[in-house]
Symmetry: C2
Subunit: 367 residues, 2 copies
């Protein structure tokens, strides 16, 4: 066996005893064939019932208008009667179409992706597609492996915040349609939040509250998004004649936020913008633990508006990226690509906006 059996860390109790139910065969012997116990209806069964040739059934069911209205009706009735469902594998084998697409996220733990997953899943379901999910564990290699594996079974792929090279992405995109979220790759359709507006609002808000020096806590060094956000902060600060300094973080998590607190204080900036909300939350926790009051002593602004950003005290001011939209937008883009209009390799830009909550504001007068 190539895999290690999964282990529990908390001593779960497995009571081998069968529950007191009669257990009358249910769930005991899974059916051998692909479909249910009663071998499911095929187009041949329909053909027999409707008195036509199987291929006629196939055409009636897949390409509308190819058969006469009355035959169509006949076949549809027969299909309904037998409650027929196409066998996706039989269909996929000759056509290569699977009505399925993949979504690879860097880290399922990271709430940033929750909304993306949700948006993509919703759109997939609405358009009669199935979403297959995989995680890359923040590793470029794992990501590429997962992507390759998926390519065999899906019609297209969405990469959310991919870690692999541009070239790898383009190579994948040569095989099947690929859409990238949170990064721009030449020649590949992308969905990216446009940071300018949101950051502009954030910086203006801070400037209006008298802040003069702003620290930006950066994300992973190779993150495309982190670079864009830092650019955005710098540009907005230039515009508002504020000073901007950059601080590096070890990892874009709550823990990373706690760790970076010293460095942030060392800059003596009075306001901080972070690469993402997790960093902001960790940073705020650490600063508060050290006795600072937010926003009286320091203002904190996060990025993304993830689930839980408003659980903190004070609730986190943040630049919202419409993550759900990114997910559904990417899915729409991909499905459009799959349904013919394959050309428009463009970038879908979604707007960001400032969500003003309690963690930013005017400095309390020194006393």
């Amino acid at each position: 066996m190539p895999w290690q059996p999964a282990r529990f860390c908390c001593h779960p109790v497995y009571d081998g005893a069968v529950t007191e139910s009669t257990n009358s065969g249910a769930a005991a012997a899974p059916a051998k064939r692909g479909r249910g116990d009663k071998s499911a209806a095929t187009i041949y069964d329909i053909a027999k019932v409707a008195g036509v040739n199987p291929s006629t059934v196939s055409r009636a069911l897949s390409k509308p208008g190819r058969v006469s209205a009355k035959t169509q009706k006949l076949i549809e009735d027969a299909a309904a009667e037998l409650n027929y469902q196409v066998n996706p594998f039989a269909r996929a084998l000759p056509t290569g179409r699977t009505s399925t697409f993949g979504l690879i996220v860097a880290d399922i733990t990271n709430p940033t992706f929750f909304d993306i997953i949700r948006g993509a899943e919703t759109t997939a379901t609405v358009r009669d597609y199935t979403l297959v999910l995989a995680e890359s564990a923040e590793s470029a290699v794992t990501e590429l492996t997962a992507a390759r594996r998926m390519m065999a079974t899906v019609d297209g792929l969405i990469l959310a915040s991919p870690r692999m090279d541009d070239d790898d992405i383009r190579t994948l995109a040569r095989d099947k349609p690929v859409v990238v979220i949170n990064r721009e790759v030449d020649g590949v359709p992308c969905v990216v939040p446009e940071v300018r507006k949101g950051i502009g609002e954030a910086v203006r808000s801070l400037a209006a509250n008298g802040h003069r020096k702003i620290a930006f806590v950066a994300g992973p060094p190779k993150s495309w998004m982190s670079a864009r956000r830092w650019e955005g902060v710098r540009a907005a600060c230039d515009w508002s004649r504020l000073e901007a300094v950059r601080v590096e973080s070890s990892k874009p998590t709550v823990d990373g936020g706690r760790q970076v607190a010293r460095d942030v204080l060392a800059t003596d900036a009075t306001a901080v913008l972070t690469y993402n909300d997790l960093l902001a939350i960790g940073l705020m926790q650490e600063l508060q633990a050290g006795g600072m009051v937010v926003p009286d002593d320091i203002s904190i602004v996060g990025f993304d508006d993830i689930f839980g950003a408003d659980f903190t005290t004070p609730p986190l001011t943040t630049v919202r990226s419409p993550l759900g939209e990114c997910g559904s937008g990417a899915a729409s883009l991909l499905l459009d690509l799959l349904h013919g209009n394959g050309d428009p390799v463009g970038t879908l830009r979604v707007e960001t906006e400032l969500v003003l909550r309690g963690s930013s504001g005017r400095l309390a007068p020194k006393g």
Copy 2:
């Protein structure tokens, strides 16, 4: 077209202009066939290279020990050289096996499921299976539809906090292996957190801090889990000679928690246990907004220890359900079932435990 095109709510800008890249054919014309542009290698290609019969290749690749060591080697080398990958559809068609299983959750928005998804996904990947995700939007009908649809394409199914009838679940389980999380269904393997220990710890902790009357904010009326938790609270309170009162909530969300605040106050309990963390967080926000201090004026204990439960001020005391374990446990159970040992229809119980944080404690002396 049966579907409505997905719409954006925030006026995203689609710049039809092709990015300044040369766009040299990349991603423009997706390959027609199922695999990559170069038609992928098949067992027939391998057979030709290795100089054996295709069926020998099939056997060498799928059932170890069925061919001689040297032939095996020959074939493996040829496969590696052509970098062959099985076509999952071709394999699924005759066998019905897909190396895929489904996971249906009630609500992708609900962070309770994040860890479950993650656990299941991780285990799936480790054991070379693919996870397919679907959401039921809290509707029993949608859930059943999704389940039926999935049954055609997966080897087994995991239902997390299902909303459908026991009988529907058993019917599904007759077709393919099904594992249920967060609910017990006779004759179907289940994974449930055992609430007694965690609730016991919570109630004893509250009792030790001088609380005499505890309110339980219930979840959805038909939730199996909510009933178990209420039972657990009542039993633990009896044991510790505390009074337990039950309060109904409208929905198990942050908002529902806010709404239930009045009713909780009306009970004049000094401590509250809620059906889940979202309710606890909403309740705490509302009480704090009304000027109450947690835990000085009232203690709050949540359930599940979801992501973000420690973002609040004070951080939330909660009874942790090992959700990740539930997900991976269910996946393991399912895969074991799929790999032969099909019999043990039992219940996997995972332990809960109290996570003591700041939202519970001793009442401040009245002043």
